[in-house]
Amino acid sequence: MIMIKDLNVWYRDNKILDNINLDVPRNVILTIMGPSGSGKSTLLRAINRLIEIYPGVRVEGEIYVDGVNVFKARTEDVRRNIGMVFQIPNPIPNMSIFDNVALGPKLNKLVKSESELRDIVKWALEKAYLWDEVKDRLKEPAAKLSGGQQQRLCIARALAMRPKVILMDEPTSNLDPVATNRIEELMVELKKIVTVVLVTHNPAQAARVSDYVAFLYKGRLIEVGSSSQIFTSPKNELTEKYITGRIG
């Protein structure tokens, strides 16, 4: 589903990602683990080219998503087909709950009628396990939701674009354990319809939800493997040190 070939990324003169090669199969959760500053967010933002909104970024290499070379396609089209969820829940606070989810389909003209829009918003909110909590307050501003609800709203916003891939950058790092638990359940459910690339600081979370794990260290991809392999018999010493909490 996602194929990354010889990816190098610089911020000005600093090389942040060094020759990354990575394949992600369809309908799985692949988790990128690694210590702070190892380039996890950078790698994630390279996939949907969101990294290009930062000044001074240079990218080399190829990324294919669903067979399309993202660096040859229009940025808008690339981002439209890849959903993204961020570390700090970022709904538009003064926009209504409904509008936050409707944003993508509406502004990208993915729907033909109001009723179609309503259907897609409902579908996305249901998929994000949020519908029951908000169905009677769709017109309220998103700022009124709790942090966990806001994050699920952001997941719904991403889903409403009907993406094939969803990128999640530490989506639970600002949430309490209950909210985290809900999002983890949701991720597992979501892989039926999308491919999830998850970034996390937390090896335990990686172990709970992922099918595959990639370990990133100082901009280099140290090891990739199935979740069970990485957590039971890591091949690289650094990986082992990281998952046992000795680095990071």
């Binding site: 909104i53 808008e76 981002r79 959903g83 961020f86 538009i92 003064n94 944003l103 993508g104």
Partner: protein, 298 residues
């Protein structure tokens, strides 16, 4: 035992407090003078004061300020209709292309304009229209004369007065949008234009609306830029289909002209006009503060 030090310090604090309040005395005095004289004038001819034209001097009757209210409303509305979209567009450009040369040049020009005395802006508008007229005559060989004293030129002058303020405020609102909101917009595949119009402006709408209200209250109280442009008129002109090209009055011009006249009735009318203007400006300001508070709460 009496503590001399504490007494001394209390005396000092009291003195400083009184001194600090001194500047407010003339302001309060002015405020109450306007309110008292204004309400008195309006009560002499209520509710006619709000829609009648000024009275004949020596008649002993206090007329009204109807045409001036309408004039202020028209001038301010046209200026706002031109000034707000224009400053939003320029501010979006400036916040998106921070490094561009055009942004730097425009920024210098507009912020300089900010410092200009508003009477100069009135003169500039006056001169601008003369230049335009010459250009039309020479290059297009058409003998039309854009009127220098008109609703249009008055509105243009007010637009130029409000533009720098609005530009600076809106640009700052847009530049302070957090990166997380920008990422949200761009991750949905929006173009820069759509992201700005449908997301960033919405996100910043509280502070932008506040700036617009303050800008409106600012130009509402302007006299100087209107002297050489709108010029002033004491009668209803809007029934004339060509009124946009004719002079028009305003509350500020009326306060200036009637207030300096030797006639008692007109001076009273000027007080009434001042009171109405004060009310309008104050209420806009209060609404603006209220919205700004709400915007911080979100």
């Amino acid at each position: 035992m009496i503590d001399l030090r504490s007494i001394k310090s209390k005396v000092m604090v009291a003195t400083i407090s009184i001194l600090a309040m001194l500047p407010f005395i003339p302001i309060a005095h002015l405020f109450f003078t306007v309110v008292a004289n204004g309400i008195y004038a309006i009560s002499q001819n209520f509710p006619g004061f709000f829609y009648m034209e000024r009275s004949i001097p020596g008649s002993g009757v206090i007329g009204g300020v109807g045409p001036y209210i309408v004039g202020t409303a028209i001038l301010v509305s046209i200026a706002t209709l031109i000034g707000v979209p224009l400053s939003i567009l320029i501010a979006i450009y400036a916040s998106e292309f921070i490094q561009s040369r055009l942004t730097n040049a425009g920024d210098v020009i507009i912020t300089t304009l900010f410092e200009f005395p508003t009477i100069i802006i009135g003169l500039m508008t006056f001169a601008l229209i003369s230049v335009l007229n010459d250009a039309i005559r020479i290059y297009l060989l058409i003998d039309v004369e854009l009127p220098k004293f008109s609703v249009l030129s008055g509105s243009i002058a007010l637009t130029i007065v409000m533009l720098p303020f609005l530009y600076v405020q809106i640009k700052e609102s847009l530049r302070s949008i957090p990166i997380s909101i920008r990422e949200a917009a761009y991750s949905l595949g929006l173009s820069r234009i759509k992201a700005n119009f449908y997301i960033f402006l919405v996100y910043a709408r509280g502070s932008i609306v506040t700036s617009i209200l303050i800008a409106i209250s600012k130009i509402m109280g302007e006299t100087a830029p209107l002297l050489f442009t709108a010029f002033g008129s004491d009668f209803y002109t809007i029934s004339d289909p060509g009124f946009l090209f004719k002079p028009i009055g305003s509350l500020t011009l009326a306060i200036y002209n009637l207030g300096l006249s030797p006639y008692e009735e007109w001076i009273a009318t000027a007080w009434g006009a001042a009171f109405i203007l004060l009310l309008m400006v104050l209420s806009l300001y209060i609404i603006a503060r209220y919205i700004a508070r709400g915007a911080y709460l979100r």
